[in-house]
C-alpha cells in the first residue's frame, strides 16, 4: 500500500482509538477547588456583569476556590442539566426552577441539603419556599429568590371600565363579574384576563394557582383525580374564558406580558419580576407611574378565606456528585444571603429575598408597593407544588387537557377523565 494511504489510515485509527486511553477528569492536588455554577442569570448582558461581581466577591472571601460561571439559556437549562448529569459531569451548584429539584433529586442527581443547612437558616426561610425544594422529606434545594405568581391588575383600565381601580376582585365570583364588565366596556382588542395554554412549563405554572384556589389538590397526597368538583371548576373557568373571548388564546406568557404592557390585557397571574419586564416594554411605566397603573395582590379566593398560590420559585441545588460539598454549600449560602448578591442580583432581577432577615436588614430595598404586597400577602400564601420525578410526564397530560378544553373543543368531563386515567396509569394506581 502507498505510504500516504497508510498515514491516512493511521491518522484515522488514532482518532477512533482515543476511546481506549481515556482517563478520568483531572483533580488538582494542591487543595485548590473549582466549582461550576450553572445558571441562566448571566445570559443577559445587564445581569452577566452583576453575577460576575457576586462570584468575584465570593472568590475573594474564599481564597483557593474558583467558581466557573456556566451560563445556560433558561429554556434549555433543564435539558442541559439532565445531559450533564447523565453524562457524569454535572455542575456542582445549579440554579433550579419550579419542579426541577424534585425531579432531579428524585432521580438521585441532587445532594441532601438538610445535611448542611443549620436550623437558623431553615427558620429564616418561608415554609412554602422550603416545601418547593423538598421531595420525600429530603431538602434538595433552597430558595434563591421568591417569585410566586400574584394577581396583577391594571388600575387605569379598571377605572376606564367604571370599576374601582383600588379594589381588585376578592373572590373568583367577583373576578368573573369584573371580567364581564371589562369585556363589555373596553375595546374589543383588550382582553380582561390572560391564561396561557401553550408551552408546557410556563402554562402549567400559570394555571396551578387557579386549581389551588378553587380548592383542587390533584397530585398532592397520592391522589390523581382530576374529576373532582374543585378541579372541574378551574378547568370550567379556563374553558369559559377561552370560549367567550375573555382571554387571548394561543398567547405565550411572554406575549401576554407584551400585551399587558401595551394595555391589551387587564389582569393576569405573574411573578414580582413583572415590574421590571413591563417597565422595559413600556417606558411610560418608569418610577411611580408603574405603581399608579398596576397593582398586585393574592389570587382571588375560590373557596374558603385563605388565599393560596403556587411556590414557583428560583432555587439552588447541589449535585450529588459534588466532591467538595461544604464549599459548594458555602457558595449557595453566599448566593442566597450576601449583601452583594441581594443588591447586585436579587433586586435587579426582581426577586423577593428568600430569607426574612434579608427583608429586615435592607428595608429600603423592599419599600415599594409591589414588594410590600408580596411580603405581606402573596408569599405567605404560597405552597409547594405536587412535584416528583414523574411530574414532567404528568404535566404533558395536564397541558394536553388544558388545550383540549380551551382551544380543542373537547368535552370538559371527558377531558378530566382522560387526564385522571392517564395519570393513574403513569403513577401505577
Amino acid at each position: 500500500m502507498n505510504r500516504k494511504a497508510v498515514a491516512f489510515l493511521l491518522l484515522a485509527a488514532s482518532t477512533g482509538c482515543g476511546v481506549a486511553f481515556a482517563g478520568g477528569a483531572a483533580e488538582s492536588s494542591n487543595g485548590a477547588v473549582t466549582l461550576h455554577f450553572a445558571n441562566w442569570v448571566s445570559a443577559e448582558e445587564a445581569t452577566r456583569k452583576n453575577i460576575g461581581d457576586v462570584i468575584a466577591a465570593f472568590q475573594q472571601q474564599n481564597p483557593g476556590v474558583t467558581v466557573d460561571n456556566v451560563a445556560i439559556p433558561f429554556d434549555e437549562m433543564h435539558q442541559q442539566l439532565l445531559i450533564e448529569t447523565a453524562g457524569g459531569n454535572p455542575p456542582e451548584v445549579m440554579q433550579l426552577n419550579g419542579p426541577w429539584p424534585a425531579e432531579l433529586g428524585g432521580l438521585g442527581a441532587l445532594a441532601d441539603l438538610g445535611k448542611y443547612a443549620d436550623q437558623a437558616f431553615l427558620d429564616d426561610n418561608w415554609k412554602g419556599g422550603l416545601e418547593a425544594g423538598t421531595y420525600n422529606n429530603v431538602l434538595y434545594a433552597v430558595p434563591f429568590g421568591l417569585t410566586p405568581h400574584g394577581f396583577w391588575w391594571n388600575k387605569k383600565l379598571f377605572a376606564q371600565a367604571g370599576l374601582d381601580p383600588n379594589s381588585p376582585p376578592a373572590t373568583v365570583d367577583d373576578l368573573i363579574q369584573d371580567i364581564k364588565v371589562l369585556k363589555s366596556k373596553l375595546p374589543s382588542d383588550v382582553y380582561p384576563i390572560a391564561l396561557d395554554t401553550t408551552k408546557i412549563d410556563y402554562a402549567l405554572t400559570e394555571f396551578w394557582p387557579w386549581i389551588l384556589t378553587y380548592g383542587g389538590r390533584p397530585m398532592y397526597n397520592g391522589s390523581y383525580d382530576f374529576t373532582t368538583p374543585e378541579v372541574r371548576k378551574a378547568f370550567q373557568f379556563l374553558q369559559t374564558a377561552a370560549q367567550n373571548g375573555w382571554t387571548p388564546v394561543g398567547q405565550q406568557i411572554k406575549d401576554e406580558r407584551e400585551l399587558m404592557a401595551n394595555g391589551k390585557v387587564v389582569m393576569k397571574l405573574d411573578g414580582p419580576y413583572l415590574v421590571g419586564i413591563l417597565r422595559s416594554l413600556n417606558p411610560n411605566l418608569a418610577g411611580q407611574a408603574f405603581f399608579d397603573t398596576f397593582g398586585v395582590t393574592t389570587v382571588p379566593l375560590g373557596v374558603g378565606d385563605t388565599p393560596v398560590t403556587l411556590a414557583d420559585i428560583h432555587q439552588l441545588g447541589m449535585s450529588a456528585q459534588a466532591k467538595q460539598p461544604r464549599v459548594a454549600w458555602k457558595l449557595i449560602q453566599f448566593l442566597v444571603s450576601s449583601e452583594i448578591s441581594v443588591k447586585e442580583y436579587q433586586v435587579p432581577y426582581g426577586l423577593i429575598p428568600s430569607l426574612k432577615s434579608t427583608v429586615a436588614k435592607y428595608p429600603d430595598l423592599y419599600a415599594n408597593p409591589v414588594a410590600q404586597a408580596y411580603i405581606k400577602s402573596v408569599i405567605p400564601s404560597m405552597i409547594g407544588g405536587p412535584y416528583d420525578p414523574q411530574y414532567g410526564a404528568a404535566g404533558q397530560f395536564i397541558i394536553r387537557g388544558m388545550q383540549q378544553v380551551a382551544v380543542g373543543g373537547g368535552d370538559l368531563d371527558q377531558t378530566l377523565k382522560d387526564i385522571t386515567s392517564n395519570l393513574q396509569t403513569l403513577y401505577g394506581k
Partner: protein
Amino acid sequence: MPPRGHSSPRSRSDQRYAAAFLAPTLAILALVVFYPLATVLASSLRDANLLARAGGRFVGLGNFVRLLTLDEVFPTAVLNTVIFTASSVVGAFVVGFALALALSGRVPLRGFLRGIALIPWVIPGVIVALLTLYMFNGEVGIVNFTLRSLGLIRHFIPWFARERAALAALVVANVWNQTPFYFLMLLAGLQTQPEELVEAAKMDGAGVVLRFLNVTVPHLKGIIMIITALMVIWNFNNFDLIWATTQGGPVDATMTLSIYTYRQAFLSFQFGYSTAISVVWLLGLLAFSVFYIRVMEGSRRA
C-alpha cells in the same frame, strides 16, 4: 459493481485504496455517530431511565410492543411527521423551482435577487423559529394584519391555538426556511440545461408547458431526487422550529416523531422508550432510502 475475481492484484490494490480513502470518513462517523448510537441502542430493550441509561429492567421487545400496540400518540406523531415532511418538501420544491425558473432568465437585478432568496437559509434556525412565533402571533402578528388587509380573512386567526392552523403555520415557516436549498440546486441545474434540447423542442412546436415537462424536468431529475431524499431525512429530524413554537401542541396537532422522542426522553425520562421510538423511525427511514436508492439507480440506468 465490485469485481468478483478477488485474486487480481489490481482489485486487491483497489480494495486497499478504497479502505484507506474511506477510513477518515468512517472513523469520524464511528466516533461521533455510531459509537454513541451503539451505546443507546441497547436501551431500547430496557426499561431505562434517562439518568441511568444502562440500568432498568430488561424488557426485551416490550418497549416496541407497547409503542406499536398501546401508544395512542405514536400514530398521531407518525401521521404528523409524514404530513409535515411531505408538505414541507413539496412546498419548498414548488417555490424553489418557480424561483429558480424565474431567476435563471434575464431579470433585472438578478444577482441581488438571488442573494436575497438565500437569506432564509442563512438566518440561524432558532431565530427562524422565533420569527415564526412573532409573525404568526394571533393578536399582533403581521401575518394576520396582512391577510386581513388583503381581504382574505375577516377575523384574526389565533394560529397556535387552532390545531390545523398551527401545523399549517409551521409548514409555511419551514417551507420559507428551506426554499433556498431547492432554489439553489435547481438554479444550478437549469444553468446546464442544453440549449439545443430546448430549441429542438421549440422546433417541434412544443409549448412552454410541454417543454418544461419534456425537457426541463427530465434534465433535473437527478438533482430533484437527491435533494428530495435529503430533505425528507432532514425534515424527519426537524426539532428546533416545532419545539420553540408549539412543543407539539395544541392537543398533539404538531406532535412529530422528533418532538415525541424528545418529550419521552427529557420530560418523561423514559429513555428506553424514546430510544425505541428512534429505532422504529430509523428502520422506517432506512426502508425508505433503500427503496429510494433502488428507484434512483434504476432510473439512472434507464
